[in-house]
Amino acid sequence: MSALGGPKQTGGVQPPTAMGLVISIVLIVVALALAFFLVQMAGLLALVGIIIGGVLVAFGVHFVPVGGAPAAMGQAPGIATGVAMLAAGAGLAGLFGGAWAAPFGLPVALAGGAVGGGLLMAITCTMVNVIYVFGMGIPAASGKVAKDPITGDTFPEYKSQGTEGHGLPFISWVGGVIGGALGGLGGTLIYLELLDVYQAQLPVLLNATVEQIAPVAVSLAGIFAVAMFLVNAVLAAYNITGTIEGPHDPKFKRFPRAVIAAAAASAVVGFFAIALLELVGVF
């Protein structure tokens, strides 16, 4: 429950509507077909990579312990800010790491992105707990489970009355790092796929060398990776509706909905990003 009042928290998970599923599948297929039609096999493969990246981002967001405004008041576990902000932070840190490592090849760059995102979340989660424990004087206690699945610590005796738990238990810390790593990995994958497409097309289009167009290709791929990252992260945030404690939270079971939505959204946005240079000079 956010301070602003969220949509009603239903007990079970409402499955996607049939129309929603059909529209998602149609959108993905149409986007893949158009990408193949416009940019041939390279475009198709790039779009598949972008869809995988988008799905990783949306899935990763569900691991991150998001507390929102209640966490800032010590009334809910998690990091005291919104999903979009946390996801943007982890994703951008991952993207910087991955973009820096891009010349070393795909595996190193992807690992760099994952390490960047995971590292940012590790530092954030640690400092959040330092502030909670030493600044606000509250222990870490989850409200959703009685025992930490990893350390076996028990929570109920530490949980204050009238709260949903507080602080950042170890399982949430682990979830945050996994979420940051997945987000960084996904964002970097989107960036690298777009960079490949632009580095292949821009020199032909502008009659220039790869070195000359590098700033434009890097900048375009970077800003589009950020844009797609944010679209997917916000869709995942809408799926979570407010706060989540991490992988042990019952809300985590909702992730298939976000994965479907992110795949379709990435396909559409990714298609426009890949087809960007097709219209240059036509008008």
Partner: protein, 283 residues
């Protein structure tokens, strides 16, 4: 269904703002095309004004959407708006004279996809979701396009990726010294995102008044125009950039003074705090 958070009643109807915002930003962006027609750069600042008009409209849309309580905070709506908007804006920019119209169409497609996914797959089930996300994507796209046009004097893609660098006294065309090649587009992205998400986030709650919120939106828009005007010194002539800077600063001062006046009007009471003067001869 959902808990409504409090927004003020009355004021200008949303549909009227929608029409003013759409037509206003379209006309103002096209006014920057006078640069190309007349061969000067003095009309660049109209791009920033288009962004301000779009931001006014977007703030009212966010107010409508967030009154349903998304549970993720107001900024997430601004993030998805700019995320889908920047792709549409750069894609649209490749179509020459048709840029603003193509941008609106592409943004509407991306916004509609995101809205359908949010309602049917993620199951937000918010009645105004699809329309609002379409509007927000268009707002985001027009903001990015307007500010980018203000920075480099044109809304065409080739103008955005080419600039001139002076090496040993010779002016040579360069892709690095351009709005996209220099990653200025990323700065514009964040300036637009901050401007669109701040106003309603700051003004929401009991006693929210439309004119005050919209005045803050205009203030944020002019505030974002100031850095873009300073950036534009690098891309357009000295005098046109000075004109743009002057317009932004005058607009910002005017809207800021008006906003403070409106805040005092709506406040129960206020204290005109004065600095504590040092007593003569020391304390």
């Amino acid at each position: 269904m959902s808990v409504k958070i409090e927004v003020g009643a009355g004021g200008i109807p949303h549909n009227q703002i929608l029409i003013y915002g759409l037509v206003g930003s379209l006309v103002l962006i096209y006014l920057t095309y006078l640069n190309t027609i007349t061969g000067t750069q003095y009309f660049s600042f109209f791009g920033g004004l288009a962004a301000v008009v779009a931001l006014l409209w977007g703030t009212d849309t966010i107010k409508h959407l967030c009154s349903y309580g998304l549970g993720t905070g107001v900024p997430s709506a601004g993030m998805i708006a700019l995320g889908s908007g920047v792709v549409a804006a750069v894609f649209g920019a490749t179509t020459g004279i048709f840029t603003p119209i193509v941008t609106i169409i592409i943004a509407a497609i991306i916004g509609a996809v995101a809205g359908v996914l949010a309602n049917n797959v993620v199951r937000m089930d918010i009645p105004v979701m699809i329309v609002s996300l379409i509007e927000l994507a268009i707002v985001g796209a027009m903001t990015v396009l307007g500010l980018a046009a203000m920075a480099c004097g044109t809304f065409e893609f080739l103008g955005m990726i080419t600039g001139t660098a002076v090496i040993l006294g010779f002016a040579v065309p360069s892709y690095e010294f351009s709005v996209i090649g220099g990653s200025i587009i990323a700065v514009i992205f964040m300036l637009g995102a901050i401007a669109i998400q701040h106003s309603f986030n700051a003004c929401l709650g009991p006693g929210e008044k439309q004119d005050r919120t919209l005045m803050l939106a205009a203030e944020c828009g002019f505030l974002s125009m100031i850095p873009v005007a300073i950036i534009s010194f690098a891309f357009i002539g000295l005098l046109p950039a000075l004109v743009a800077l002057l317009v932004s600063i005058i607009g910002w001062i005017y809207t800021y003074v008006q906003y403070i006046a409106l805040s005092k009007r709506d406040a129960y009471a206020w204290l005109d705090a004065k600095p504590i003067l040092e007593p003569k001869g020391g304390a």
